[in-house]
């Protein structure tokens, strides 16, 4: 294709676009800085009690200490492990079940009320049962995590599959496409956006699952640090675990966002 010469208006448009983007980013950074600075100053000047609220410098100091002792890495790794396994298994299983239920109308109708009830059930309530079945260890935590993520995954992805444009499916059928062809060439690409947004939701849910599990049973992990910190009234530890959790969760979210970008590029 020939390279195109653009009008001045186009460059102005690009410039405006870039300016807006930079402004957004700067504002986001400013909000973070203001938050931590405010937190620090308020606790330093005794407006809020540093016993209850800790402070960024104390949290940073504790992070440094725990990094040196290896504790932070250890506990983070335990939680991250549970979360990632939970996320991967639940997403994979959820996708497969959604596919099967899309494929078979009969199975879909049979399973619908069960899925709806399972979805509205607060999974934490199953905590005691899970612990009795799986023991008070990471198996129980991972199972809890999967349980929380998988039902929503099935419902969201199935919903996206069944909402696929009927006219496009009719086109496939008129071309003599098999059901598998219809799935892979029409339904799946139509649902890609929804699947990626399901992944994003699942990141959050799998953290909920693993931390919830750890709060119930664990001997290690960030959830364990949270409970432990609470029991010994060490707010610095509680805040530190929370901050690290935020960091890890955002990292995982960005990984999914990056995956989304890659997928978009591949599609183009």
């Amino acid at each position: 294709m020939k390279t195109k010469k653009f009008s001045k208006a186009h460059y102005d448009y690009l410039k405006l676009h870039r300016t807006k983007k930079i402004l957004t980013l700067l504002t986001q950074i400013a909000i973070l800085v203001a938050f931590f600075l405010g937190w620090e100053l308020l606790s330093r000047f005794g407006v809020i009690s540093s016993f209850f609220f800790s402070s960024p410098t104390r949290v940073a100091k504790l992070i440094g200490e725990m990094l040196r002792s290896g504790e932070l890495i250890y506990h983070s790794r335990v939680t991250l492990n549970e979360t990632l396994i939970g996320f991967a298994v639940a997403t994979g299983v959820g996708f497969l079940v959604a596919f099967v239920l899309w494929y078979s109308n009969f199975l879909r109708q049979v399973s619908e009320p069960f899925l709806v009830v399972l979805n509205s059930l607060p999974k934490v309530a199953l905590g005691p049962i899970i612990i009795i079945w799986f023991g008070a260890g990471d198996k129980a935590i991972i199972f809890m995590c999967i349980l929380i993520v998988v039902i929503v995954t099935i419902l969201n992805i199935l919903n996206s599959f069944t909402n696929c444009d009927n006219q496009l499916i009719a086109l496939g059928k008129s071309l003599g496409a098999s059901k598998m062809q219809i799935f892979f060439k029409i339904v799946l690409p139509s649902s890609l956006k929804d699947i990626i947004s399901t992944l994003k939701v699942n990141v959050g849910l799998s953290w909920i699952g693993s931390i919830m599990g750890e709060l119930l049973v664990s001997k290690a992990g960030l959830g364990y640090l949270l409970t432990y910190g609470k029991q010994v009234a060490n707010m610095h530890l509680v805040m530190t675990a929370t901050v690290v959790l935020c960091l890890l969760a955002s990292l995982m979210y960005f990984a999914v966002a990056l995956f989304e970008k890659l997928m978009q590029k591949k599609l183009k």
Partner: protein
């Protein structure tokens, strides 16, 4: 007899209601016929095409295409839908190949044929673009090329020119007409445009208001070798137009 439609009835069923779309429709189409179906909006024209393509089954009556019950897998029909149905995540080029891809006929020869059509209909520059970047008329041409690329024996065209401007429409009519005649294909064209039907078809089926019955069948019998454009300007075409107009007008009054 290439297409044989006999005592066709179709009732759409739903939980709360049933809609009778077709009422005892019978007609025959010979090989290489060009048939147009006209009728008031919502009378059941698309339904007839769906039945002939094998997408839906009749409530009663029979449809035979080439002596068999039609099945989409048979590769006999090329169905161009009323809506363009382009896949929004595929480029125009990939959309044009979509039928070939599904039918596993994406040979270079077929692809080149498709691209030559795209070139002819002014879409060459847009091959790498996405459907959302094209106008309605352009999208309709892409859908038409996707259908033609399969070189089907029987073309089912559901208002293929509705989104085009008048000029393009007349030109495309001429082109489609000559492709179909040259390749000795059979075609069924559904249209709202009576003139279009008269200018292209060897046989015009006029349907009544829903549930569709056959109101009349006209055989214009133009001299051979006239293009659709030339046909439009004959007095025969004008007389036939008035007649069909009146027939549909009568039906519209019943709605």
């Amino acid at each position: 007899m290439f297409v044989q439609v006999k005592n066709l009835n179709l009732i759409y069923q739903s939980q709360t209601d049933e809609t009778q779309a077709l009422n005892d429709i019978s007609f025959d189409i010979e090989k290489q016929d060009f048939v147009a179906i006209v009728g008031p909006s919502g009378c059941g024209k698309t339904t007839i095409l769906s039945l002939i393509s094998g997408l839906i089954k009749p409530t009663s009556g029979t449809v035979l295409v080439d002596g068999k019950m039609p099945k989409p897998k048979d590769n006999l029909c090329g169905y161009m839908f009323q809506r363009d149905n382009l896949l929004p995540w595929k480029t125009i080029e990939k959309n044009i190949y979509f039928g070939l891809e599904i039918k596993k006929q994406a040979s270079n020869e077929r692809k080149n044929y498709a691209i030559s059509l795209a070139d002819k209909y002014g879409l060459k520059e847009f091959l790498k673009k996405y459907p959302s970047e094209l106008s309605g008329g352009m999208r309709q041409r892409v859908a038409l090329i996707r259908t033609l690329a399969l070189k089907p024996e029987l073309l089912l065209l559901d208002e293929p020119f509705s989104a085009l401007d008048y000029q393009t429409r007349l030109n495309l009519c001429n082109d489609i007409f000559s492709i179909i005649k040259r390749e000795k294909k059979t075609a069924i064209l559904v249209t709202h445009d009576i003139q279009e039907a008269i200018s292209m078809a060897d046989k015009i089926i006029v349907l009544s208001a829903r549930p569709a019955k056959i109101k009349a069948i006209h055989l214009p019998n133009f001299e051979a070798n006239l293009t659709p454009f030339e046909r439009r300007n004959t007095t025969k075409a004008k007389r036939l137009f008035e007649k069909i107009w009146q027939e549909i007008q009568d039906e519209n009054k019943k709605i």
